[in-house]
């Protein structure tokens, strides 16, 4: 049996790699995408463009604004002198925010011990707006502390000491890059499997395969293993790049990581072959691939946390193998999660893979046209 399967695997690899375009597509773009996306996908803000509208003649206003100028997160792009200048700047997206210090700022601070500074933010990207406001608050906060100390005001009755575990500097790259490992592994697996049966169906060679003495399980294995080998290979390269190029720490064990990768590949190949054997034409196969790929990525917790989703969508994510893989990657990379703690993430992927592979094998014979 193994000899026959080996022959099938050789044939599958030939079909995949003999076309130079196909060979190129499977290998080069995923690597380039890892590099580009690794740098592109970040929620951290630096260089927030802002404009200053200072009507205050006093020194305090200038001191507050100095806090912005010295911050590495902000980049001053303009000084305004009229109310009317604010809107065009924000509309055009030239400035994300405008800091407006009113004419009575220094006076209020001296007489009433309290003044307010207005900050106008472009809310078109609500996440950026929220983060930028966070930076603004911390600058004002620092100013307040210094001012209070200088003027003998009492300290607030409780002080917050915030710390973050696993990612002390809150670098979103550490969060995103392991996610990209999952993204590209999925894409590569889909490239290899989603169209493979559909192409043979369309070209009629699948019928020929079915009349040979091969059992469906053997055909299935022949179709699945090349995807698995390519998937493991590329996942390894991507993981290496994540560790050595992007310097994401890997605290957990390689055994745990590779158990996760293996199970994920099995489930992804299962889905890919299932789509492929359901499709009659390659056009349908491609459509099916996208119909799986896109929701699988968007509802995986890659970019937005699953906890933020409404509960019925959270239920849908339970059938998404990416969801579990994402947890495993981040857990193993950043938190050093031990094997046993991830068992709850391992078995659903095994089930998804098993069900889909069985269905795909069953469909081989049942879906003839």
């Amino acid at each position: 049996m193994w000899q026959r399967v080996a022959a099938l695997i050789v044939k599958e690899f030939l079909a995949l790699l003999k076309d130079p375009k196909s060979r190129f597509v499977i290998v080069i773009p995923p690597m380039i995408q890892l590099l580009v996306f690794g740098y592109a996908a970040t929620y951290d803000l630096n260089d927030i463009p802002y404009a200053v509208y200072n009507e205050d003649p006093g020194a305090e206003g200038r001191e507050l604004l100095a806090g912005f100028r010295l911050s590495p997160h902000f980049r001053e792009i303009a000084h305004l002198s009229h109310d009317a200048d604010i809107a065009p700047l924000i509309d055009k997206r030239e400035a994300l925010l405008v800091v407006h210090v009113g004419p009575r700022f220094s006076r209020d601070l001296a007489t009433a011990q309290s003044a307010s500074v207005q900050v106008i933010v472009d809310g078109r990207n609500s996440n950026t707006a929220l983060l930028a406001l966070g930076y603004v608050r911390s600058i004002v906060h620092r100013f307040n502390d210094q001012w209070a100390a200088r003027h003998g005001q009492p300290k607030p009755p409780a002080q917050l000491e915030m710390r973050a575990w696993f990612n002390p500097n809150l670098e979103s790259r550490w969060f995103i890059v392991p996610g990209i490992v999952a993204l590209l592994t999925l894409v590569v697996t889909m490239l290899v499997t989603a169209l493979s049966v559909a192409r043979e169906r369309e070209q009629g060679t699948f019928d020929q395969l079915l009349v040979t003495p091969f059992r469906p399980a053997e055909i299935l294995l022949g179709k699945a293993l090349p995807g698995f080998i390519i998937g493991i290979g590329e996942a390894t390269v991507i993981v290496l790049l994540a560790i050595f190029w992007f310097k994401v720490p890997l605290w957990g064990s390689l055994l745990t990581l590779y158990t996760g990768i293996t199970l994920f590949l099995v489930s992804a190949i299962g889905v890919g072959l299932m789509i492929s054997s359901l499709a009659v034409t390659q056009q349908q196969g491609l459509l099916g691939a996208f119909f799986f790929l896109v929701p699988a990525i968007i509802l995986s917790g890659f970019a937005t946390p699953i906890a933020n989703m409404p509960s019925f969508i959270q239920k849908i994510t339970l059938v998404n193998p990416m969801r579990y893989f994402m947890e495993i990657l981040r857990g193993v990379f950043l938190e050093g999660m031990p094997f046993l703690m991830l068992v709850d993430q391992f078995w659903p992927m095994a089930v998804i893979g098993g069900v889909n592979l069985t269905l795909a094998g069953w469909l081989f014979r049942r879906r003839l046209y």
């Binding site: 499977i26 592109a40 260089d47 509309d91 409780a158 002080q159 809150l170 969060f175 192409r199 509802l299």
Partner: protein
């Protein structure tokens, strides 16, 4: 076969009427093919609605009910009032635990996102030195959410300071208060900015999916050769492919915009005409990209692979739909200029939330026009009416 209908009776006549008739025939043939394999119709009409529904609800950066463990070593009136201000916030869901060991375990097992730790000397230090330290530990893996939670924690803390000051009869003096005004999206609903961007991402998929296979299919099935022997010019073949899928794509777009406005209640502050003008330019670019893929690949398998690789992830990550382009390093910012979705995302976010801002619409619209021309002429240049 029905494929040669367009060429009937127009042999070798380069007249305008003949060209129109041939084109009509080609378009009709393409429509028939679409009807036979309904997957194109599914791409154009089912996909946008399903994806928009799923993602419109599913994608959200607004963290609410974040589970936080609370460890109070020595409960007192002071600690109760402090914790009370967190209890009232809709952003937190507090989980009282009795010691730090349990809390740290819960944090490791992802049962909570963070810990609020009040030591036994909280009340005493408050009274003696007037400033008691409160330790907040967050799970920083999801850095973005952790940052937002830090902001919420600060908010709850400020509210507590205010309440404390009021109950002690001393007015709270915070030297400088920030008064925030958020334009265009005053409630900071992430849905309002994600859904317009999603339309651009979904349209990218639709455009490429519709056309990525069509030329490759003709080559693979040998019907391209049948077309070659007719007097149909190559640009007529391309145009015959473009027109039907453009109609389908615009249908999908109307559905998407309708869903965004009708169901998700995203405000549409700009004009519908600008919206559709920009989108049709974008659709031309996306279809052009699909056609180019199809022409270059020459077989459906490779065309499908290229379509998977170059459409979705770049549009998702590099278009500014979710990750801010301004924060990317500049070489990456240069690369984003190659992604047509980038320009549509900018236009859609502005037209939906801010209105018609000419300084956003014109440059981005011009870029879209350029991309459309680029892809379509590349497609024209790469396709020859001859066999290899």
């Amino acid at each position: 076969m029905k494929r040669q209908e367009g060429s009937k009776g127009t042999l070798g006549e380069p007249s305008r009427g003949g060209r129109l008739m041939r084109l009509r025939g080609l378009v009709r043939k393409e429509f028939l093919q679409i009807l036979r394999d309904p997957s194109s119709i599914a791409i154009a009409f089912v996909m946008p609605v399903v994806l928009l529904l799923l993602f419109g609800y599913g994608l959200s950066l607004d963290a609410e009910h974040v589970p936080l463990a609370v460890v109070v070593e020595e409960p007192s009136a002071e600690t109760a009032s402090f914790i009370g201000s967190f209890q009232q916030s809709r952003y937190f869901e507090l989980v009282p635990l009795s010691n730090m060991r349990q809390a740290e375990q819960a944090l490791r097992e992802h049962r909570v996102k963070g810990i609020i730790y009040l030591r036994e000397n909280f009340a005493r230090q408050r009274r003696s030195i007037g400033a008691a330290p409160v330790q907040i530990i967050l799970n920083g893996v999801d850095a973005n959410t952790a940052r937002l939670v830090q902001g919420y924690v600060n908010g709850a803390w400020e509210k507590w300071l205010e309440l404390e000051a009021r109950s002690n009869g001393v007015p709270l003096t915070i030297p400088v208060q920030v008064s925030e005004r958020v334009w265009f999206n005053s409630e900071l609903r992430s849905q309002d900015y994600l859904v317009p961007g999603l339309i651009a991402v979904i349209m990218t998929l639709i455009g490429a999916l519709l056309t990525a296979m069509v030329m490759a299919r003709e080559w693979e099935r040998g019907t391209m050769e049948a077309l070659l022997v007719t007097p149909v010019a190559i640009q007529e073949v391309l145009l015959g492919k473009l027109v039907p899928y453009f109609v389908l794509g615009m249908g999908g777009l109307i559905l998407s915009v309708g869903t965004a406005v009708g169901l998700f209640a995203i405000p549409l502050r700009g004009s519908v005409i600008v919206l559709f003008a920009a989108s049709s330019l974008f659709l031309l670019a996306a279809l052009g990209m699909g056609l180019l893929i199809s022409i270059v690949a020459k077989n459906q398998f490779v065309a499908g692979q290229i379509a998977i690789i170059v459409t979705f992830l770049p549009a998702f990550i590099l278009s500014g739909f979710i990750f801010d382009i301004g924060s990317m390093p500049w070489p990456i910012q240069m690369i984003t200029h190659l992604i047509p979705a980038r320009y549509l995302v900018a236009i859609l976010q502005t037209v939906f939330l801010a209105g018609n801002v000419p300084s956003v619409i014109w440059p981005n619209g011009a870029a879209l026009l350029l991309m459309a021309i680029l892809f379509l002429s590349l497609g024209r240049w790469k396709s020859h009416k001859r066999l290899e």
